[in-house]
Symmetry: C2
Subunit: 454 residues, 2 copies
């Protein structure tokens, strides 16, 4: 054929960018039951886009929550088979009032697209499909065998994925996984993800009486659920920032000096990272740099805390219940179900007298994950990223968690290599999430180069 | 005239009870801006009801928030003049889902009327008007001179009242105030209120970064606003239940052995009070019984606490802000503005590193109040209540606050005597507030007896 990958990407650029915006307009928020229809519509859109790219077999697999899209394009006999992983769901947009422009109306300012999911990860999802379309346009079919697994539950901890992967084990068999759920370290330097933290979580509920009570009559005489919860929540950390749960650090594998050195070779200073986040002072476990903590130290995180009257004005009430959403980021050596039990035991042991504790299960539960450096997909990623960015990629241990990687490893026996294009500070999971327009072009080129390199 | 007060109350009983239900159907929630129209409609209804009772002069005085109803019926030359105080506003109904029947659809079960405002204080408001109507029916005019001051902002701390009282000082002059904003101690024993706690309050806001952040990346490295708020909130009390704010107890007047004995002569046991509230264990400042704490010890109360994600499911966010609504109940010797400053100073001094504290003013601010036992209105109340209940009333120091009493004392130089009919455990300020149907009859009789006794 006459067309090259580069030609194709150039000629389709504007139409493909419009597609990206179209995808961002879909409120595919997986955690919100009322938006299930929107999530499903987004899945259908993505499946259709795969078909239009030329993927011969595309199928929607329904789950209890949101469908998985699977597909196959085995057009390169003798070449390896890569399972491309991504997710089309996004985080909720609240607090909605802090967005400068509506989260599902992508808006371009200063070379950046602002929208929920722009960085995490609709940019990567659409550009990897477009790159595959370009490879097919140049070669008749992609020069590597491809399978697809795009889920709609990543932002709620991938609860259906293990079952779906297990039930489709043969159809998903491959030589390795390319996860598009990642980011780069700077506009000019790639990152090579070698480890991800694990995660577990639970909601702690605390009750002190049958009903809210009048604070004038009862404030001096009965426990206040908010005060009891404050005491309990405050007990999860020592004043120095380390986790106070008994046994929490047991079994955690200590970092080697080499690993520490690698992590501290971060392309931004601590001051820059804090300034970008608008934070006055760093915080966390003593004895480690913020880069070491971010990449390789476990945490207890409070994601939500509430009880009593939150409206405008006053209500002189002694509240009877309070709630605390906790997640914990895990590192190698920590078992998710054991840590979950320790979190719950701590709540029971430290609830003040008169406070009854109960738990609402969360969907999180995945151990930490590390990918070997000599794996074929990983070694190829390191080579291609070095070529594309003209410098060695930074070795990254991510604080985030992608529970599906543990499933691919455990059920399919496959390692996962991660390539994505969001940048640090792009406000994933927060208001005003953004993705650089320049990285839209970069992503299409790098994905095409990577999938063309086998 | 042939009709007696008792005859009149008997013949009008059913119609007057229907009126009570009609008043309860009005959602006169003063704190909710969206309900301002409903509050105003309620004011007009009450003003009209006063006119129908025969009060010759009734007027709505507009304020920045909700109108005050004033009125005069000076038909008893040579007799004392009593200013009748009440409020027609109610607390918000939330958490609405905990009501067994809708808060503004009064429902009768087991001899109790369930509705927001049933006990606090629409029962007292309507029955005192009906009692006055009965006195007029029997005597041509009430046998004591009456003035009226019914406000619509009591549940938000009476912010407009001081200005209105000052501006109408001459028209409100009287020999004392009868406040209908109170309750009884048991169905068979009256209480005589001799003291009320004061109140102040503020909302503490805490911020740790510009925006919510991804907990995977930032949970290990920057302060979490919820955790910072938990630490701060937990620092307001010692583990033993006493308030930990420096200087909080300075100047508090210690109770005499006689006062303690009076308070401990409470008609219910600690176990009964806790069981009624559904509380497993008492809580509060050590060294005092729950009756002493309820009546005469100052408190710091948390009324609302929130931040981060509260929806169903999960959001792995490091929240950037948290909020805490605090009120403080004050006793003699504590100045509201000084205590407010101490609460704010404590927040600034105890906010963890990296957390910025700011404040949202509340409308509360009133010192504690005590009424002399030998005051004419108070002595008459003691005598009439003894006759009506056939036993000496219990001497009550209430934990609740009625800021308007301080205004009547300071601006008009008048003491306030309180007679009301809600019972302990009637869930004022909480879901499923109730008032006994039997006490509707009792209230009409006692108010008529009291106002007929001068």
């Amino acid at each position: 054929m006459a067309v090259t990958v580069a030609d194709f990407l150039r000629s389709t650029r504007d139409a493909h960018f419009e597609e990206f915006l179209e995808l961002l307009r879909m409120p595919s928020v997986s955690t919100t039951p009322e938006l299930a229809g929107e999530v499903h519509a987004c899945a259908e859109w993505v499946a259709d886009r795969l078909r239009r790219a030329g993927v011969p077999t595309v199928e929607l697999v329904e789950t209890k929550r949101h469908p998985v899209i699977i597909g196959e394009w085995l057009g390169a006999p003798g070449k390896p088979t890569i399972l491309v992983y991504g997710h089309y769901d996004v985080q909720p947009a609240d607090p909605i009032e802090l967005w400068e422009t509506p989260p599902f109306e992508p808006t371009i300012r200063d070379g950046m697209i602002f929208a929920r999911g722009a960085a995490d990860m609709k940019s990567n999802l659409i550009t990897v499909i477009q790159a595959i379309e370009a490879l097919a346009a140049a070669h008749g079919a992609p020069p590597v065998n491809l399978k697809f697994f795009f889920e709609g539950e990543e932002e709620i901890g991938s609860p259906s994925a293990p079952e779906v992967v297990a039930s489709l084990k043969d159809r998903l068999s491959a030589d390795g996984v390319l996860s598009c759920d990642g980011g780069m370290e700077s506009p000019t330097r790639a990152g090579l993800l070698v480890a991800l933290k694990g995660i577990t979580g639970v909601q702690v509920n605390l009750r002190t009486s049958n009903t809210d009570l009048h604070s004038g009559m009862y404030g001096a005489t009965v426990p206040n659920a908010l005060q009891a919860m404050a005491k309990l929540a405050a007990s999860y950390h020592h004043d120095d920032g380390s986790v106070a749960i008994e046994g929490f650090y047991d079994g955690v594998i200590e970092l080697t000096p080499e690993e520490r050195a690698e992590m501290n070779e971060y392309p931004a200073t601590e001051a820059e990272i804090l300034a970008q986040a608008g934070v006055a002072a760093a915080w966390g476990e003593p004895g480690y740099t913020i880069f070491e903590r971010m990449g390789a130290r476990p945490t207890i995180d409070f994601n939500g805390l509430w009880g009593g009257f939150q409206g405008e004005g006053s209500k002189t009430v002694t509240p009877c219940e309070a709630h605390l959403k906790i997640t914990s980021r895990l590192v190698p050596g920590q078992d998710p179900s054991r840590i979950l039990e320790l979190i719950k035991k701590h709540a029971k042991d430290h609830a003040p007298a008169g406070a009854k504790v109960s738990f609402t299960a969360s969907e999180w539960g995945a151990p930490a994950y590390a990918v070997p450096r000599d794996n074929l997909l990983q070694a190829t990623a390191e080579r291609v990223l070095t070529e594309q960015y003209q410098s060695k990629p930074l070795i990254v241990r991510a604080g985030g968690s992608v529970p599906i990687t543990a499933t691919f490893k455990g059920v399919l026996g496959q390692e996962t290599v991660t390539i994505g294009f969001g940048l640090p500070g792009s406000k994933v999971h927060a208001p005003n999430e953004w993705f650089r327009e320049a990285d839209f072009d970069r992503a299409r080129e790098v994905y095409a180069a990577y999938l063309g390199a086998f």
